[in-house]
């Protein structure tokens, strides 16, 4: 059973990262009702900015972190201004497709910058292993995991205690009602893109720490989308739970089924889970069931 526990721990660590990608997507969906593919790219660019800060400019870690957060926040703001705002009032599906146009534009730029190479900043981070009971975990992974939990906590507190968070919750309920109580819905949209971009950057850093910055990194955004859908698009706790669930499922199924079918289960486990969950609970585990009218 030790193998199982090791897989479980690994899964939880990875799941924490998935959860935080999903959190960024959930944040945007809650307030703007747009599902965003673009956050995968924001992840990639945030990690790239951090790499430039740490490796090329040799900044201290904290400064590089702040710099990359500021960069991606500016990027989120710009995307909202240039691509999302002109589509307010259009069908939501147009906005969804536009996030995927943004994804493509940024994907090309990302490829042009990387030129097919992969960059790593893990050598600049503190090293070492931590022993918890019988297993050992790399300290960077543990920090990533705890960091993602902290981000969740921070988001929860932000939503609960700040005025802007209250405005965001009101906007999530109903755009017109929120506007009639004096909340600037457009301001909230801008703020939510900035906030979610910063969240996505955390995810990008945590992911790049494990997998290096490579041109496939932004495609983890699609996995984040899967997690968000499994958890329910409106629910932050759902994102956390679904992320952990998915991480564990991927690692455990890979550990037990790979020898039987010859590898690669990890790549599809998420999608198979998604198809099953959507067939049984179409709005995800914790999503709001919408009542439709004609």
């Amino acid at each position: 059973m030790e193998g199982f526990l090791q897989l479980l721990m690994l899964g939880l660590m990875e799941g924490g990262l998935y959860a935080i990608v999903a959190a960024a997507i959930v944040l945007v969906f809650k307030s703007t009702h747009v599902v965003s593919l673009a956050h995968g790219q924001i992840m990639g660019f945030g990690a790239l900015a951090f790499w430039i800060g740490v490796v090329q400019l040799k900044l201290p870690l904290a400064l590089a972190l702040i710099g990359s957060l500021a960069f991606s926040a500016a990027m989120g703001w710009l995307i909202e201004r240039a691509a999302m705002r002109p589509l307010i009032g259009q069908p939501l599906f147009a906005s969804f497709l536009n996030t995927f146009a943004v994804f493509l534009v940024l994907d090309g730029i990302f490829q042009l910058i990387l030129k097919g190479e992969s960059y790593s900043f893990s050598a600049y981070l503190p090293k070492g292993n931590v022993s918890v009971g019988d297993f050992t975990l790399p300290i960077t992974q543990l920090v990533s995991f705890l960091g993602s939990l902290l981000v969740f906590l921070g988001l929860a507190l932000f939503y609960r205690w700040t005025k802007l968070g209250l405005g965001m919750r009101a906007t999530a309920e109903d755009h017109q009602l929120a506007q009639s109580t004096g909340i600037s819905v457009r301001g909230v949209f801008s703020a939510i893109w900035v906030l979610s971009s910063a969240t996505a950057t955390f995810a990008g850093l945590a992911l790049a720490n494990v997998t290096d910055i490579y041109y496939t990194l932004p495609y983890m955004g699609i996995k984040g989308l899967v997690v968000a859908l499994v958890g329910g698009l409106e629910s932050l706790p759902g994102a956390l739970l679904a992320g952990l669930l998915l991480g564990v499922l991927e690692n455990v199924s890979a550990g037990y089924l790979d020898p039987l079918v010859g590898g690669g289960i990890k790549e599809v486990a998420a999608y198979v889970l998604l198809l099953f969950v959507l067939l049984v609970k179409p709005y995800g585990l914790f999503g709001l069931v919408r009542i439709e009218r004609i």
Binding site: L97, Q111, I222, L229, L274, L278, E292
Partner: protein, 349 residues
Amino acid sequence: MWRPCGTFDETYEKDMAIVRTPLRWAVLTASLVLTVLLPVILPYYFISFINNLAITVILVMGLQIVSGYCGQISFGQAAFMAVGAYSAAIFTQKLGLSFWLALPLSGIFTGLFGLIGGAPSLRIKGFYLAVATIAVHFVTMWLILHLEITGRSHGLMVEPPSLAGFSFDTDERMFYIIMPVMILMTYGARNLVRTKVGRAFVAVRDNDLAAQVMGINLFYYKLLAFFISCFYAGVAGCLWAHLTLVAHFEQFTLLHALWYIGMLIVGGMGSVPGVFFGVILIRILDELVMVVSPVLAAWFPWLGSAPAAGLGVTAFGLVLALFLIWEPRGLAHRWEILKASLRLYPFAH
């Protein structure tokens, strides 16, 4: 059915005809003759480009039926094309069937496969369905990579089709298979969307609850849309496999599926001519990038040695975003406006 004023149809047949005026008959005949002569006139490069265009048109036409007319956005079209290509390769190479039998068979097989892929559409719609079709894409590609019969990562080799000893082994010869199939499939789509089935699709797209209340069987029509769309994808995949002489999973990535959806948006959702506009514009853009990027790379060395892939994706994304913001109804809408203003020429409205 919309008609410009001054059009008088005296019989039902005249009213329902697709080609309605003598002028259109003339244009149609002339363009058909021109199409037959094309491989003689044009150099090789253009013929292979046109073959590529025609296969993409078949594929995107299928996507138009399920997404543009029935409103079920599908990111799975590349995977369905892969199923078509692989099933065609298996039919002709492993089972020894002739190409002419494999062409419809791979379409039908892909259609049946699409019924599984389309099953989630009965429970979910909108983004949920779009992401579910992404999941279908990944699961399908995973199956192709891990099953014994598909040759795993090597892909499957395909022999060129032949008829009574005559082998269609060049692009010019394949042109005479691909073009008629494309014309036939376009004709089929053009007719399908104005029948009872096509009207049911549009009703489902506009409001599926209202459609259900009117007595449209959602279960039946959504699955039918997926079946037809995947039939198109299967035929396109079969032609593609026999044109490139290989069925390989790298020809069918998620990025390809995104391109097909993009062509649909640029061309115009819910319009058969729109498919042609979208496919042609995006493919020309792609070729342009191929031509321009070495020049750019020479001017700006920091772009790297091979900027084509990145530049192509960026240009495509930009075009897509601009269309979504400024021309959400696509080039087909522009085309209608152009036609109307030509008809009324000296007058503004």
